[in-house]
Symmetry: C2
Subunit: 206 residues, 2 copies
């Protein structure tokens, strides 16, 4: 029991990776267990010995993606540590980080797409996603807006929702829906305008 005795989780991981590729590309219904098996380099029967059904395999990969992708993106400590930062700086950094993700990680775009696509058939997955990403980001930013000494916003929570929602919607139109040419707008203008609106509505007189 010295080195690689991780219980044959090799195959399990290979299955999960193949399943991610297949589900993200094809969607749930069009994804084929044969192709997943082929991509993963295992037999179909092996998949069914690890995951009882196509449903459970799908749930497993989305759960994994939800929980893994953003473990440290917006940890509450991140914001608590920067409570005294000027809003311009913190908001610009946050927005840039969010907008960087779909550019650097195309898999993220497919992930967003499939969470929305399968939200009718798998509403639990959609809700898990909401709890693990937007709800956490929202709480962190609301906390900052509430306690930052440079701001006195009338409704910090709604303001956080607007800030994050406008950026998320920008990601959906530009990347998920291939709308960069149809709704052209640079990231800089989006960010600058958001920051201007927030500071204008809540800057402390000093």
């Amino acid at each position: 029991m010295t080195a690689a005795s991780s219980c044959s989780s090799d195959k399990r991981d290979a299955i999960l990776e193949g399943a991610i590729a297949e589900f993200l590309k094809q969607g749930y219904a069009a994804a084929s267990m044969d192709r997943i098996a082929s991509t993963a380099g295992v037999s179909k029967a092996t998949i069914y010995s690890h995951f009882q059904s196509k449903d459970r395999l799908f749930i497993a990969i989305v759960d994994r993606l939800v929980l893994s992708k953003f473990a440290d993106l917006l940890a509450p400590e991140q914001v608590t540590q920067h409570l005294n930062d000027p809003p311009e700086q913190l908001l610009r950094h946050l927005a840039s980080t969010m907008l960087q993700v779909p550019r650097q990680d195309p898999e993220y775009v497919g992930f967003i797409r499939i969470v929305i696509a399968e939200s009718e058939r798998f509403p639990d997955l959609a809700q898990t996603f909401l709890r693990e990403l937007p709800a956490i980001a929202l709480e962190s930013l609301s906390h900052y807006f509430t306690h930052c000494p440079h701001l006195a916003l009338p409704d910090p929570e709604a303001t956080a929702r607007i800030f994050l929602g406008a950026i998320a919607h920008y990601i959906i139109t530009q990347y998920v829906l291939y709308g960069a040419d149809i709704l052209p707008l640079t990231e800089t203008r989006l960010i600058d305008t958001l920051i201007a609106m927030i500071t204008a509505s809540g800057a402390k007189p000093l």
Copy 2:
């Protein structure tokens, strides 16, 4: 050629209606031509005589939905006529109208879901949607923001994008992703905060 001689478009319409129900509920891949035929009360062969393939039927119904649902929702005249209205009034009316749609028309939620769901397989449909709804709304609101005498916004176009994007994202989280309990926020707070942010950043001194 007096009364009902509309060339047998009766069956064609029945097929389209059945197809809308089936595609919106199941998604493209899981939708079954047998069920569509059954719902429409025709045989499968009749469907294939009107539409050559499942692809073309799907494109036909989404095109129809895109073009029909919002013919008059935000016609450019609507905004031009109200150029002198105070921003609070026009923006509140616009936001209320947008947020009313998914509440009164559940089919709209399924429509949004499927446009996003199939954007990888049918990017043209996603782009048609963007051109026919968000792009038009954006242009109208940008025009208002640019010419309304009560406002002097630094970037009217980006401001319009943020306003419409925040509302669209609210619809996605609350209705498409079943997140009303996870991300609670009343429409009133969303609207009030948006209006406050915009007027604060662009109210003319007078």
